[in-house]
Point group: C2
Chain length 543, copies 2
């Protein structure tokens, strides 16, 4: 091999990001809305210094390189400090999902081998339900978010108070672990993804590109997406890389609170799941004049597919741009973004909406293909459905100590996403289903996502989920669970008439079940398995 | 080590950039102004296909992995194809500087071991002066830029015409060489820098960030900077990464031609050395109404320090932004960019100009420090001068087969840039001199760059270079070589009076020598050694 003579042994680590923040952007601010509604504000200088203090304190507690340190917290400045301190001392940041059942949390923290857990005081009642089962746990550190730390616990502030603001980083190999996050499917145990320094740096770099998130130190970023949800989509590390200010919403994620924060803090980028933005849109539709959010460049939406009607509603009624992203915990998480390409900028609003409502095209260094049940690679024709497979420097190569899920990784090195998609000639990906949700009716595939998006465009509908119900003749048929907007309703015939123009007749749902709310997972995705459990036999009973 | 479980073996190579261009941006265009003034236009689909054809043709000629393939060409679409094809077939792109003396070119091509050279037809007279001395040379391929390929040479178009547009890439290690570029100092042999796939990818990624070059597929990029000059500042690979259109100026780089091209092609980013932009500014000052260049986002200026008066002139008189960059061939080349930080955006035009005229602050992953003669690291106080040292993933670790220059690399892993700088508390770097140009007068350092910038702000001055002349009492004293604007002049007393407000008296030049032009290097930098050779004894002779 004729070798490169550059500094190829220079390791890509999160240390460089923390150092960048402290060196070049010490005066940019970090804002947190605390549990009591007051605002905490400090600079990256403070954040940098306190991160070093935290590293020193953890080292004093005996945390060594490779040790897992769990966090159980809302989006706050202290959680940001943990994000920065733990990986840069060579330990592994393990974000725990506070929306999971304590039984799952016990499994996850124990399986990861967490030796320390840093938890918000407001979440101690949850922690106390599972910490006894975490055999590796040696210390709990309490972040006093809503009051003083109770007796018997280490207090975060007291712990770091006496520590030096200088910290001697260890030498870190770019292929060592930086963070962990568990993803819980509907079957089997939760699966642990182990992010590395190299993967996190490359992901942050690529995510910050102008045609991806476009992060600048001039941005003020509001991550509504929780920090326990796939690294808050890399925004904390993106901020460290670029110097962008962070606006943390704390525990209260109600639409009026978010809009207040966006207006007061001149937020330029806000990121959250569709459910969050649906609520914000409803509020703006009532009275948009209450908030001046003109600093907003765009809203990032991901976690599950955003309904086109919502994207269009923000744009048409309020002049606000949404950027639709697709990713997975196993992908750090960003895989693709729905940007309209330059060549289609003048193609009109219909084309633009179609592009923006798709999952977009892959970001650099994420290779994509989709395959049929036999593993044959399918054409990019915009029509043929198959399972999406990906590979790239920030895609999981395997799960942590979990053999149940080995079949998610192909022999030739791709990760099977479980998403059923089409890919068009421009590379735009459209998710038509999760592989477990797709409906097979009389041998034909029906996309539940396409139906849901169409139903949610109906003026009477707030939310809709389409799922497979068993059928005596067709094996499976689509049923829709719908939530009406307050004071609105529509009949099955009206709804099907609304859909007929866009879908073949055999795609139309056999019935619409009015429900008070669509069950959702801990990260806001429709939980169709619960609908299937409850209504799966509905058509077998003569309905 | 607790290891990352991501796909850490996924290699970062330029293959991903070429594939991205062909997959996602096939319809974006590539424009070349040919030698005869006509415009050649094609798409990245063509560029991608022809790059594959070139790779196939080179493979057929016997080019193997690691072989060096030289290019001797202007900025054109064919040179872009060579940029893409050669590294992605595992060979090494070696750009030859057509402004060098044939004697140097002979040394460089022979030292690199070029087995093939791809040359513009218009440069054959140059090639023929040195190709006989390149022992490794097996083939010359002629790009017919200004007429048909002469008998006895391989013609580029005929060579690739029959080849497949599919190409089977080899597996490429990210630590293997991708490209070479020689840098010629004033002493010793030219030194070869060997770029790798990893270094080139990381450099392109970082350079494209919003606060660096901010490259988007919506951009139309005009590299006036030659493709033989430090990879044209990474713009070709930046375009491949992002899909930005490229506008190649070909061999004619006169200001009216550049302005015509910028206007006609709606260029958004144009990149060149100060001399180029000085000429453009003079032309705009005469009649700005002739060109509509409103699509221009900014002009990138680098290669040598841009005079503040020029940056201010573009901004004040024409509303045009310059972004000042600093780098070196040994740095791929980008080290820092002069962006105004968010916190100073409202600090007024004076502060902004000061920031923009500095060398800026380092881009991510470039570590900087400056040291005194004893190697002691100096404080970032904006005043203390020392030699700038850098390290990072795209900084050279050593030169290619050259032991003369081993002292450019410190034992603790930094590259000594040879630039004398100050660094302020915000990380802004200001070059005060090349280490070989700094003037030591009575034991005190005098910055030639600071004096030049101040002199060039005088309304009568077109260009000025300050250099050291020997002095019987003070060892060295500054002399200035000046070029007046047409029809203008100024006396020594007038010029010194103009400088007095900003400099200590002992900094003022002992004399001003009126010259027809400042001698420049092959890449447009002031060649002060030639001034010293001619005028170095001036003060010893009683002047």
């Amino acid at each position: 091999m004729f070798k490169s003579l550059m500094m190829d042994d220079y390791q890509l680590t999160l240390v460089q990001l923390l150092e960048r923040l402290g060196t070049y952007f010490p005066d940019n601010d970090v804002v947190t809305r605390l549990a009591d509604g007051t605002i905490h504000r400090y600079t990256y200088r403070d954040c940098y210094n306190r991160s070093h203090q935290l590293s020193n304190a953890l080292r004093r507690l005996g945390v060594k390189e490779g040790d897992r340190v769990g966090t159980l917290g809302w989006n706050t400045f202290r959680h940001m400090e943990a994000y920065l301190a733990i990986p840069t001392m060579g330990a592994v940041l393990h974000t725990l999902n506070l929306r999971l059942h304590p039984h799952d949390l016990a499994y996850i923290a124990d399986h990861a081998g967490d030796s320390v857990i840093i938890a918000d005081r407001s979440l101690l009642p949850l922690l106390e339900q599972f910490k006894g089962e975490v055999k590796s746990l040696r210390h709990v550190i309490v972040m006093p978010d809503d009051g003083p730390t109770p007796e018997g616990y280490l207090d975060y502030e007291q712990l770091i108070a006496g520590e030096s603001t200088d910290f001697a980083y260890p030498d870190i190999d770019e292929r060592s672990a930086a963070a962990m996050c568990y993803t819980s499917g509907t079957t089997g145990h939760p699966k642990g993804v182990v992010y590395g320094h190299r993967s996190s740096v490359l992901h942050s770099l690529t995510a910050a590109l102008p045609d991806a998130l476009g992060l600048s130190e001039r941005d003020r970023v509001l991550p509504v997406v929780p920090m326990f949800h796939a690294n808050a989509w890399s925004l904390p590390y993106g901020a460290a890389l670029t110097g962008a200010s962070m606006i943390f919403p704390g525990p209260v994620l109600q639409p009026p609170v978010l809009l207040d924060l966006m207006a007061a803090e001149k937020v330029t980028i806000a990121a959250g799941v569709p459910t969050i933005w649906n609520g914000v849109l409803a509020l703006l539709d009532q009275d948009a004049s209450k908030w001046d959010i003109s600093a907003l460049r765009y809203m990032l939406v991901g976690g599950s597919a955003a309904p086109p009607a919502m994207i269009e509603g923000f744009k048409k009624r309020h002049g606000l741009d949404m950027v639709h992203a697709w990713g997975m915990t196993e992908m750090s998480p960003i895989g693709s973004l729905a940007r309209v390409k330059n060549k289609e900028l003048d193609a009109g609003p219909e084309v633009a909406l179609g592009r923006r409502a798709s999952q977009g095209y892959a970001v650099p260094f994420v290779d994509t293909r989709h395959v049929d049940d036999a593993g044959t690679v399918l054409p990019w024709d915009g029509q043929t459905m198959g399972e999406l497979e990906v590979r790239g420097p920030w895609v999981a190569a395997t799960y942590y100590n979990n053999d149940e899920q080995a079949d998610r990784f192909t022999p030739d090195g791709w990760f099977k996403t479980g998403d059923i998609v089409t890919i068009d000639s421009e590379g735009y990906i459209t998710i038509t289903d999760r592989s477990k949700d797709v409906i097979k009716s009389g041998g034909e595939w029906i996309s539940t996502v396409a139906l849901e998006n169409a139903i949610m465009a109906h003026p009477a509908i707030m939310e809709a989920a389409v799922f497979a119900a068993r059928h005596p003749k067709w094996d499976e048929r689509p049923l829709a669970a719908v939530v009406f907007k307050p004071g609105q309703e529509a009949t099955k015939d009206e709804l099907n008439a609304f859909l007929e123009k866009d879908f073949a007749k055999f795609w139309l749902p056999d019935d619409y079940l009015v429900v008070p709310e669509i069950p959702k997972t801990s990260v806001g995705k429709f939980q169709k398995i619960r609908l299937r459990e409850e209504y799966g036999e509905y058509l077998m009973k003569g309905n």
